[in-house]
């Protein structure tokens, strides 16, 4: 667990971070969002002491980060940055081996761990291990950067705009793969991004900063539907509809039923056995699937205890989404 307690950072006459406090739970993916200059990167870099706070304390698992030398601390925290920063004079394998080497692992362990990491990020060790970073594409470099950050199996991973330098298509692809991968490895992750979609797609909880101060901390949909102030409300205004769809899951809009609810998506209406759909998927992802379907009227079929109860198309899903929103705004019960 990472705890920031009343942390302030002053550069010259500007206060970059102003008395912020929050907890990041173990295994959580915690997003720091906000416009440029809001203090999110400064906050991240104070966690691994690349920047020392002017005042306040930061602790990890109850131990203050200043209790050990900053280099020792950083070797236990994975760090991924926008420009990757691979060492151009090292091979991919040597890059990944950096922190294990600093920790004096033995050569065989380093070797096998590097291969394991390359496989984890979806790069074939036989093809990539000995290549120089310059010969890799941007997406591949970012994967190697991630492999390098995870090589010594740190419990915490800090990511600063990790996909910021990628082109939109690569970004989408790398992001979804990385999201999947991060869910498997169970790390405590702090992610800095200015990309609202990225934040909503990846994060369990968000912390919205403005001018060095916390505006609101909560689950993505809390920030959307129960904004703490005008700034929070206006921050999402320009792409509100899209992020709303991202933040709401199928489970949110379907009334809970007694018994076992199963959902299938089924392009041909008649067919009863389509692909099963997880209730945790966002409405955005569901609509995206429906939109891609080949037939005129794709639907989702809801079965309870094996009995078909409903078939839901675009309009039905959007209707329920609308009802759900009204319910939340009126402060009513939601589930």
């Amino acid at each position: 667990m990472i705890t920031l307690n009343n942390v302030t950072k002053v550069f010259g006459d500007t206060t970059a971070v102003d008395g912020i406090s929050f907890h990041v739970e173990d295994g959580e993916l915690f997003g720091l969002i906000g416009t440029s200059g809001c203090g999110k990167t400064t906050t991240l870099r104070m966690i691994n002491r690349l920047i020392e706070p002017t005042s306040g304390t930061i602790s990890i698992d109850g131990r203050e980060t200043t209790a050990q030398r900053s280099e020792i601390l950083r070797r236990q925290i994975g760090y991924v940055i926008q420009n990757v920063g691979l060492f151009p004079h090292y091979s991919v394998q040597q890059n990944i081996a950096t922190v294990p080497r600093l920790l004096n692992w033995d050569e065989r362990r380093i070797q096998s761990r590097s291969e394991e990491m390359l496989q984890l990020v979806g790069l074939d060790p036989n093809t990539f291990a000995e290549r120089p970073p310059a010969s890799l594409s941007g997406g591949q470099q970012q994967r190697v950067g991630l492999a390098r950050a995870l090589a010594a199996d740190p419990p915490i991973l800090l990511m600063d705009e990790p996909f910021g330098a990628l082109d939109p298509i690569t970004k989408q692809q790398v992001r979804s793969e990385v999201s999947q991968m991060l869910k498997q490895i169970h790390k405590t992750i702090v992610l800095v991004t200015h990309d609202v979609f990225e934040a909503f797609e990846m994060c369990d909880r968000l912390c919205l900063l403005n001018r060095g101060e916390i505006q609101q901390i909560g689950m993505p949909k809390e920030l959307l539907f129960q904004p703490a102030n005008d700034f929070v409300e206006s921050f999402f205004a320009s792409n509100r509809f899209q992020v709303e769809l991202l933040s709401v899951t199928l489970a949110d809009i379907l009334k809970s039923e007694q018994g076992k609810t199963e959902l299938y998506w089924s392009p041909p209406l008649e067919e009863e056995n389509g692909e099963e759909i997880r209730k945790e998927e966002s409405l955005y992802a569901i609509l995206y699937k429906l939109e891609k379907a080949a037939n005129d009227n794709p639907v989702i079929i809801k079965r309870v205890d094996g009995q078909v109860r409903e078939s839901l198309g675009f309009s039905a899903l959007l209707n329920r989404f609308q009802q759900y929103k009204l319910q939340i705004k009126s402060g009513g019960h939601r589930d």
Binding site: E71, I81, G85, L102
Partner: protein, 520 residues
């Protein structure tokens, strides 16, 4: 080419010796510059306040002309290897400091950020990330410094540090191409060789760094110390001599023979730096010119040439006979000065320039005005004739006097080409019509220009009148060059000591000096 080959074969011992000295000077200074320059460059990358002034200072040092820098070294460090190494070190500093600075600064910020973020210490970042990435740039700086140093090291011959410059400067003084080549070719090969070795070293840096660097360094340090130690070696009594004197027929070898002079430790050095070296006690006797103004200014003593070894060096203007015939008015104007300047007068005029720091033209004008001549110089357009001159102060003063006389007593416009280094260079300019006249010395005419054999020279008995007639006849026949009337003073080569030391040791003549050296 064949001449060069013969020269190299017959002088191989000296060439080898000079090459080793040259390598020694270059390598030691380079090693110092690397050892000090790289940390300085790193310092500049770490402290912004340091970088500006530091790069400024090393940059300014680089702009000081090399011979001037050697001149600055003289009063501080004297002559020999030490000031040469310091000067070379200073020259090598800029490329190494600057390239270290920019090499480190050019390392991608993101890479440094990543290295820190992964928990590398400052030292580890420097060693594992910054230095390897900056290495190509730093090496480029070292290679630049090496090539500069091999070149500048040739100049170090002028302050008695040895090296391949010895041949080059003697060659220039005597207009001996073969001798120049014998110094220049090995120097160029050295530069290429150093560059090649460093290039190889750079390409295989990671592999070679440990085994070879120690070995190579040890070997080179050994060679360097060995070769330079011979120059460092202090002796009680040292002589300083200009390169030209060491090679001339009427120079060093003859002096040794005539006076039965034993082997005096001799430092070869630039004629203009020699007097300072004597004054500062870096050498004890020099071979200088008897009219030099610094003799008076520095309280030096000219030893009497009691065996009349040095021929008379009467000063007189020389020009082409054809030119004299077609320009009788010029000859008249020039001859106005004939017999007007005796040796004490010339020494006093030189001293005004060398010691009182007066302008040569002003000194010339002052003298002419006292003699009642007109001195206005109103130059416009292209000159009708050019007057040449060697490096000695009096040549400058005399050239200005002649310019004033010709401008005022003929209708010609006169330009000047002064400070030409070496007799052969000025004389060749005269025969090629690049200049029309310059002041020459009869002794030089006899030994250098006419290459007179010893028997003939002896037969003239060092009689000034006889020598003058001989060179005038000889040069008319051989070159069509005519000597005009002597000015009245003689500027012979002379052995010069500090007056106080000479008096303390009771040395008045060259024979006294020889005695002293034998019974020391």
């Amino acid at each position: 080419m064949i001449d060069l080959w013969h020269f190299i074969i017959s002088n191989q011992g000296e060439i080898l010796n000079q090459t080793v000295q040259h390598i020694g000077l270059t390598f030691i200074s380079l090693l110092l510059a690397v050892i000090i320059g790289i940390p300085l460059g790193l310092l500049a990358t770490r402290y912004d306040k340091v970088s500006g002034p530091l790069l400024g200072v090393v940059g300014v040092i680089q702009t000081i002309p090399s011979i001037a820098l050697l001149g600055f070294m003289l009063p501080l460090l004297g002559i020999g290897a030490l000031p040469a190494i310091v000067a070379l070190f200073l020259y090598a500093l800029l490329p190494i400091v600057r390239n270290t600075y920019s090499g480190i600064n050019e390392v991608d910020e993101a890479v440094i950020e990543a290295a820190r973020g992964m928990g590398m210490t400052g030292g580890q970042i420097l060693q594992k990330v910054e230095m390897p990435l900056a290495m190509p740039v730093i090496f480029a700086g070292i290679r630049t410094a090496t090539v500069i140093n091999v070149g500048v090291a040739t100049l170090c011959a002028l302050i008695g540090a040895g090296g391949l410059g010895k041949f080059i400067f003697r060659g220039i003084a005597l207009n001996n191409m073969v001798m120049i080549m014998a110094g220049a070719v090995p120097a160029a090969l050295l530069a290429l060789g150093f560059d090649f070795v460093l290039g190889y070293f750079e390409r295989n840096f990671s592999r070679l760094v440990k085994p070879i660097s120690y070995g190579l360094a040890a070997v080179l340090v050994f060679i360097s110390l060995y070769s330079v130690s011979s120059v460092f070696a202090k002796s009680e009594f040292k002589a300083g001599m200009p390169p030209e004197f060491l090679e001339r027929a009427d120079g060093y070898q003859g002096l040794i023979k005539s006076y039965d002079l034993g082997d005096v430790p001799t430092v070869e050095m630039d004629a203009s730096l020699m007097y300072d070296a004597l004054k500062n006690g870096k050498v004890d006797v020099i071979v200088g010119y008897s009219t030099d103004g610094r003799i008076k200014a520095f309280d030096l003593k000219v030893l009497k040439d009691d065996k009349h070894y040095f021929p008379p060096y009467q000063c007189a203007p020389i020009l082409k006979q054809r030119f004299a015939e077609t320009h009788p008015d010029v000859v008249n104007a020039i001859n106005k000065l004939a017999g007007k300047i005796d040796t004490p007068t010339m020494t006093a005029l030189n001293s005004k320039v060398d010691y009182d720091k007066k302008d040569e033209a002003e000194v010339a004008r002052g003298f002419l005005q006292k003699q009642g001549f007109k001195t206005t110089v109103d130059r416009n357009g292209e000159p009708d004739m050019l007057i040449g001159g060697k490096l000695q102060t009096e040549q400058f003063i005399l050239a200005h006097m002649y310019q004033m006389l010709i401008e005022n007593y003929t209708h010609l416009d006169v330009g000047l080409r002064l400070g030409l280094a070496g007799t052969q260079i000025v004389f060749r300019a005269l025969t090629n019509n690049e200049i029309q006249m310059y002041p020459e010395y009869t002794g030089t005419g006899m030994h250098v220009l006419l290459d007179t054999d010893k028997a003939t020279a002896d037969s003239l008995g060092n009689n000034p009148r006889a020598v003058y007639d001989y060179v005038n006849q000889g040069m008319l026949q051989q070159f069509g060059i005519q000597w005009l009337k002597p000015l009245g003073f003689e500027n012979t080569y002379a052995l010069i000591m500090r007056r106080k030391q000479a008096e303390r040791l009771g040395i008045n003549t060259i024979s006294d000096l020889v005695d002293y050296l034998k019974h020391r």
